[in-house]
C-alpha cells in the first residue's frame, strides 16, 4: 500500500522532470555525447595497437573481464563531466528561471520538489549504468576470442560501482546547485573542486600529498576510486613505496561515497526547505 503510493509519486515526479527536460538543448546534447563517447573513446584504443609496459597490447581494453574496468574508467570521466554538469544545470536553471518558485506556487510541496530532483539523479544514474553494462557486454562479446561465462561476470561488480560513481558526482553537483543557485559559479566550483581544490584541501589538512591512507576518504577521491584507472601494477609500486594503497578498496570507496552522497543530499534538502524563493 505504502510502496504503491511511493511508486505512483515517483513516476508522477519523474514524468514532470521529463516534461521539463526533454526539450532542453543541454540535456539532449549531454545525453547524446555520453551515448556516443562511451564506446567510441574506448574503441579509439584500437588505433594504438602497441602500448607501453605493463600492458604491451591493447587487447585488455576490449576483452572480458578487463573491458569492465577500462570502460568504467572512460565512463568515470564522462559521468564527471556530462552528468555532474547536468545535475547542476537542472537545478540552477530552475532558480534563474524562477520556475522552482512557480512549481511550488502551482502545487508541489518543497519535499516533492526535492524528491523530483533526487529521482531524476537516480534515473539518470540507472540509465548511464544500463548503457555502460550494454556497451561492456557488446564490446567484450565481439573482442574476446573464447568467452567463458565466469570470465564475463568476474568483474560484474563494476556495475553497482559504476552506478554509485555516477550518483556520487551527481549528488555533489546537486548540492552545489541548491547551494550556489547560479549556473556559472556552481559549474566552476564543481570543476575546480574536483580538479584541484580537493587536493589543496587534502594538502592543507595533511601538509603532504601522500602521507596516510586516511587522506583517500575525501568525497570526490572516493567517487573516482570506485572505477579507477586500471593500472594494477602501478598501484602495487605505490603500495611498496608509500606503505598504503594508491586507491581505496572498492568496498571502502562504495561506503564512503554512499555516506557523502547521503550528507550532500541531506544538506540539499535542508536548503530547499529553508530558502525564501
Amino acid at each position: 500500500m505504502l510502496t504503491t503510493k511511493l511508486k505512483t509519486n515517483m513516476f508522477f515526479l519523474l514524468k514532470l522532470e521529463w516534461k521539463k527536460l526533454n526539450k532542453l538543448t543541454a540535456f539532449r546534447i549531454f545525453i547524446a555525447f555520453y551515448l556516443v563517447l562511451l564506446p567510441t573513446l574506448l574503441l579509439l584504443g584500437k588505433r594504438i595497437p602497441e602500448l607501453p609496459p605493463p600492458m604491451m597490447t591493447n587487447e585488455v581494453l576490449f576483452i572480458f573481464p578487463t573491458v569492465w574496468e577500462w570502460l568504467a574508467y572512460v565512463g568515470n570521466w564522462l559521468c564527471f563531466f556530462f552528468f555532474g554538469f547536468l545535475s547542476i544545470i537542472t537545478i540552477t536553471t530552475e532558480y534563474s528561471y524562477r520556475t522552482m518558485r512557480q512549481n511550488i506556487i502551482t502545487g508541489l510541496s518543497r519535499k516533492e520538489y526535492f524528491l523530483a530532483k533526487l529521482y531524476l539523479l537516480l534515473a539518470i544514474s540507472t540509465f548511464a549504468t544500463v548503457y555502460y553494462t550494454l556497451c561492456a557486454l557488446l564490446i567484450g562479446y565481439f573482442n574476446t576470442p573464447a568467452i567463458y561465462w565466469h570470465k564475463v561476470v568476474q568483474n560484474a561488480w563494476f556495475i553497482p560501482r559504476y552506478f554509485l560513481m555516477c550518483f556520487g558526482y551527481m549528488s555533489f553537483g546537486a548540492l552545489l546547485g541548491f547551494w550556489i543557485k547560479r549556473t556559472g559559479i556552481a559549474l566552476f566550483l564543481y570543476l575546480s573542486y574536483i580538479m584541484f581544490l580537493e587536493s589543496i584541501l587534502r594538502w592543507g589538512v595533511h601538509m603532504q600529498l601522500w602521507k596516510h591512507r586516511s587522506m583517500h576518504f575525501y568525497p570526490m577521491n572516493a567517487v573516482e576510486d570506485l572505477t579507477p584507472l586500471p593500472f594494477t601494477q602501478m598501484a602495487d609500486e605505490f603500495l611498496s613505496s608509500y606503505g598504503f594503497s594508491l586507491f581505496l578498496s572498492p568496498v571502502e570507496a562504495a561506503v564512503t561515497t554512499i555516506v557523502y552522497s547521503g550528507i550532500f543530499l541531506f544538506l540539499g534538502y535542508k536548503l530547499v526547505q529553508r530558502a525564501d524563493l
Partner: protein, 297 residues
Amino acid sequence: MSILSIQGLTKRYGKITAIEHLTLEVEKGMSFGILGPNGSGKTTTLGIVLGIIHSNAGEFQWFDGQYGQGHRRHIGALLETPNFYPYLNAVENLEIIAHIKKIASPRITPLLEMVNLYQRRHSPFRTYSLGMKQRLAIAAAMVGDPEVLIFDEPTNGLDPQGIAEVRQTLKEIAGMGKTIIMASHILDEVEKVCSHVAIIKNGKLLATGTVGAIISDDMVVEVGADDPASLGELLRKHPLVRQVEEKNGHLLLYLREEVSASTINRLAFEHGIALSHLRVVKKSLESEFLAITSRES
C-alpha cells in the same frame, strides 16, 4: 466558508519588518483586493500564504484545512513576474502546470484562446512580449479551473488595451462566483474588480471591509475665486460640505451628496463671490487612498 484565514502574520528581513502582525479573513465568493503602495508587503504576504516565503510568526490556513498540504493545487496564482520555462512553448508550459496540479485532461486550447495566445501557442516562451507573458500567466493561473485565483499586480506592464482586457477577464471570473485575491497599488483597478479591500502600508493593516465602506462615495468639486479665503470660509460652513482642501490655488470640496455645479455657483453668487473656476472631479479614490495611508504614518 473561509477560503483564507491569516492570523498575526509577521515577516522580518533583518532589521526591516516587511509585514507586522497581519490578520485577514477571506470568505468564499469575495473578490478581495489588497491595496497598498509599492513595498507595503503585498507580495510578501501572498508569498507566505503560497508557501514560497517563510514567516517569522503567525499562521494561515487555506480552505479551513480541508485539502491538507495539497491546498495550492486548488489555487491559481500569478505572483509578480510570469515564470515559465523559456525554451518551452505555451502549450508545453501549461501542460507542466496541469501535471503539477494533477489535472488529467486540462482544457488548454480554450484558455489560450481566452488570453489571445492561440495563434502563438507553438512559439517558445522566450520569444513572447511582456504582455503575452503576462497573459500566459493569467491562463496558467486558470488551468484546472481552481476555486481561488490570486493575482499580484495583474496589469503590470500591459498596454491600455491589455489592461482593459485583463480587467474584463477578472470581472468575468469574479462573476463566475470564484474567489479572487488581488494585490494592487492601483486603486482604480481594485475598485473596478473587488468587492472587499484591505489597505496595508509598511506591512500593517490600516483598514479592511467592503469597498463601499472603506472608500467613501464623496463627490469632489474643484472651485476657484479671486478671493479664495472668503470663498473657503463660506463653503466650510455649508452643511453639504464635509471637508475643504486647498490645492494649487483652488479649493477642493468634498461633498456629502451629489449636487449640481450650478447649485454651488448660485450659492457663491448669492454671497457676492464670483467663481473663476468650477470643475466637478470624479470622486477621488486616489486622494482617499492617499489620505488613509498618510494618516497612519
